[in-house]
């Protein structure tokens, strides 16, 4: 299967340099793929898709008829990250998570950063995910963001930027593990000669982290459960996958009950106490007594049990205050404020529509910018200027004028590309990267993460709900010469 006609088309390609030659770290992989005949490669790809369906590795699409499941398309060509570049990404992520956690703890206690006017108070008080219910709470070890999935992108300048901090209930890590497994099953020959860092130990590390945050008075082996909204949630597969791999109970809201400010699960033999909950339900639905009263998914009284220190919740409620696209713009300032250091990983330049000057610039340049709703996820509520129609731009102009606080804008990035199988040949498709970071005793970064790929030609939207697929991500254990992209 040849790359002879493959074109980088002026984009930064993760596999080939600007002259069209394979990058050092990709040469072996390119040679291996080139040595396969076309039929062999296509068979591997088809067998991977069949396995996904057999294993039931699917997600639900909202708005589709109930129970519609799709596989998250998988592409066999991996994305490679050199050891040198990864070491830098890892340092940058650890710095960022440490600071974001510090920020959340500050916001729910002394609010020094607001008093020192580094961030305007109104930005925080108007953030959708700011929860006054959390003021004064001290979660175990002062950790608020136990599991984070930060979105990174590489622009045409070769630089990696942080695009979003997903602090609330980030999903996708199951695909990282399944993609690697699938790759080993269907395409083992490509691993030869390369030292790819394993990812299989993630569930074990996740469990260890969850056990370290057990509440005071819990045994050394606290009872950990994973709380899911149920089988109709789009990420249900992941919930059951992680529970299975960790060997913990997968519970729904109806399985849990609060008595005497403690959380219990309803079993065939009566009530059993629960110590740590990895909750995959958003704050809004977590506790009808504290948040949305119409939620049937959550557990009445669970916030009170958490406040009393009788149960640990991961992630901590309220941590979404740092997961707001306006607050995002202030993260570099936070890093300087709390740590006295410059950020290692840069932010994408961001215009805040609530600032008059920024808003005027945004409205005048809607055709060039990407506009995002400050608190939506999943690629919803977004305008990609260069790909938009005049009517869409008018709609967004009206939305921005009506609720300037809710919108930010960023330059349209020329996301880097990776060769991707299209029918019977390879074409470049844009990708991003979501590494997963755990924070218990210390901060740990899973090597690699989820590489999402926009399968539609030219598309910059990688979300699974919007025609995205995924690829395996290879972090190499040692770096070949000239492997740095810094």
């Amino acid at each position: 299967m040849q790359f002879a006609n493959y074109q980088t088309e002026g984009f930064h390609d993760e596999m080939f340099d600007a002259t069209g030659a394979p990058r050092d770290e990709a040469r072996l992989l390119v040679d291996t793929i080139a040595s396969l005949d076309e039929g062999q490669f296509l068979r591997c790809q088809r067998s991977a898709e069949r396995i996904l369906l057999q294993l039931g590795i699917t997600f639900n699409v909202y708005g589709d008829s109930a129970g519609t499941e799709r596989i998250f398309p998988f592409d066999l060509i991996p994305r490679i990250v050199t050891a040198h570049e990864w070491a830098w990404v890892e340092r940058g992520l650890k710095q960022r998570i440490r600071v974001l956690n510090h920020f959340i703890d500050d916001i729910y206690h002394d609010q020094k950063i607001l008093k020192d006017k580094v961030i305007p108070e109104e930005v925080i008080k108007s953030a959708t995910f700011y929860r006054p219910q959390c003021i004064g709470i001290n979660p175990p070890r002062g950790v608020w963001c136990h599991i984070t999935g930060t979105d990174l992108v590489r622009h045409g300048d070769g630089q990696i930027y942080v695009l979003e901090d997903n602090l609330r209930v980030p999903s996708g890590v199951s695909y990282v593990l399944e993609n690697r497994d699938l790759m080993k099953r269907t395409f083992p020959q490509v691993f030869e000669g390369l030292r790819v860092r394993p990812v299989d130990d993630y569930p074990g590390r996740l469990l260890e982290m969850l056990q370290t945050i057990g509440p005071r008075g819990a045994s050394e082996n606290p009872t950990v459960v994973l709380l899911t909204p149920g089988i109709y949630n789009s990420a249900y597969f992941e919930h059951s996958f992680l529970a299975q791999k960790m060997g913990v109970q997968l519970v729904e809201g109806g399985d849990l009950i609060v008595q005497d400010r403690k959380v219990w699960m309803r079993t065939t033999k009566g009530l059993r106490k629960v110590d740590v909950i990895y909750r995959r339900i958003d704050d809004d639905f977590l506790d009808p007594l504290s948040f949305r009263p119409d939620s049937l998914l959550g557990v009445p009284g669970i916030m009170d049990a958490w406040r009393a220190g009788n149960v640990a919740l991961a992630n901590a409620p309220g941590n979404g205050v740092a997961d707001d696209k306006v607050v995002y713009a202030y993260v570099p300032d936070m890093i300087r404020y709390y740590e006295g250091e410059d950020p290692i990983l840069p932010n994408v330049p961001t215009y805040l529509c609530w600032r008059d000057a920024d808003r005027q610039h945004v409205l005048a340049n809607l055709d060039k910018l990407v506009v995002k709703c400050a608190n939506e996820a999943g690629g919803y509520g977004m305008l990609v200027g260069p790909h938009s129609t005049a009517q869409q731009r008018e709609e967004f102009a009206a939305l921005i004028a009506a609720h300037p606080r809710n919108y930010i804008a960023q330059p349209t990035l020329a996301l880097s590309r990776v060769p991707t199988l299209v029918d019977d040949h390879f074409e470049g498709r844009h990708v991003d990267l979501r590494p997963y970071i755990l924070y218990g005793n210390e901060i740990e970064v899973l090597p690699g993460g989820l590489t999402r790929v926009a399968l539609r030609k030219g598309s910059l939207v990688v979300n699974s709900s919007q025609g995205g697929g995924s690829k395996d991500t290879w972090v190499l254990a040692d770096s070949p010469e000239n492997g740095s992209a810094e």
Binding site: L55, Y232, N233, S234, L250, D255, Q259, L271, P288, P300
Partner: protein
């Protein structure tokens, strides 16, 4: 002592129903397969044969309303492929899969993959005219259900959840064996003119084949006699589809779940199950026939239903006493939550 891992009430319910639905699908597949074979041996109108399948299913009223007179096509459609019939093979496999999907972390991966595959296979089929492919199709369905049972017994720890699987499977099977015997016995006895003719044997063979029991019956009794067939299907100690066998095993699973000492009971379900088991232990078949088989089987099905309800009340639908923050209860939730995918 290491405390055994507790089983969530919801999970117990899901594995129990997963097993029941798969067993139900397998039984329907077997009846249809036997009937397809039987009609080749019988002269004249096969409609009555197909109607008897509908009677066995217990969904006669629904069928009558939607289809009227029974033919091979509409019966096979209704019992196997009909999305709106909650007890069709398709619906059973869909429900089994939904239940399995909600407890993937409790059952083994192999079990989940097998249920998923059964469902995906069924969902990709639709009924086309012509019957040539049907016997093989239903044979495959039966085999895949057997495979599921084998996988379950070989890959899942025989823990509390596994005992709920077995409890569901055995109660469903006992119910189905009693239904097929009830309907066929009622249908066959009046045709005294057939007694001693080849057709009589063909019919009784079909009854036994419907529970995969013909060969095992022959080894034990030889000639086909209604009395012996009833004894075999209701009372046999060792045949795995006899009612006695199923209830004995269901009772064993229930006691494994509760840990209650034999001869005593702690839960209502244990008491009802124990009563039924000892009745089967100590009732001679001739007493049953003298007092009327239909009445006996009808009462038996009622007792199995009561046990089913009691299991639900004892282990699944119980609510704790004491003060808890309240809200309205809802078993199913379809509310979409904003995940961050």
């Amino acid at each position: 002592m290491e405390e055994t891992r507790p089983l969530l009430s919801r999970v117990a319910d899901a594995v129990y129903w997963m097993a029941r639905y798969i067993e139900r699908a397998e039984n329907v597949a077997r009846y249809i397969g036997v009937n397809l074979n039987l009609q080749l041996d019988l002269p004249g109108d096969p409609g009555q044969q197909w109607q008897s399948l509908i009677d066995t299913s217990g969904d006669g009223a629904d069928f009558l309303k939607r289809h009227g007179e029974a033919t091979q096509h509409n019966v096979v459609e209704f019992l196997a492929f009909d999305i709106e019939n909650p007890n069709s093979i398709f619906s059973c496999l869909r429900s089994a899969r939904e239940n399995a999907r909600s407890v993937r972390e409790t059952i083994s991966s192999e079990m989940w993959e097998q249920v998923n595959e059964m469902y995906l296979h069924m969902a990709s089929q639709y009924l086309v005219p012509g019957a040539e492919w049907l016997p093989e199709f239903f044979r495959q369905l039966r085999l895949s259900s057997h495979l599921f049972q084998g996988i379950t017994d070989a890959t899942m720890t025989h823990n509390e959840a596994w005992n709920f699987v077995r409890l569901g499977r055995k109660l469903e099977r006992a119910d189905k064996t009693s239904r097929i015997l009830d309907v066929k016995y009622f249908m066959l006895l009046p045709s005294l003119s057939d007694v001693g003719t080849p057709y009589d044997d063909i019919h009784w063979s079909a009854v036994l084949k419907s529970v995969s029991g013909l060969e095992m019956y022959r080894k034990k009794y030889g000639r086909l006699e209604p009395r012996d067939i009833v004894e075999f299907l209701v009372m046999d100690r060792d045949f795995p589809r006899s009612i006695h066998y199923c209830i004995t095993r269901a009772d064993a699973s229930l006691r494994a779940i509760t840990g209650t000492v034999p001869g005593t009971f702690h839960y209502t379900s244990e008491r009802l199950m124990g009563l039924l088991r000892s009745e089967l232990d100590f009732t001679p078949v001739d007493d049953i026939l003298n007092s009327g088989l239909h009445g006996y089987l009808d009462a038996l099905q009622g007792k199995i239903n009561e046990i089913d309800n009691a299991v639900l009340a004892d282990f699944v639908d119980w609510r704790p006493q004491g003060k808890t923050p309240t809200r309205s209860q809802s078993q199913t939730q379809t509310l979409a939550v904003n995940g961050s995918r």
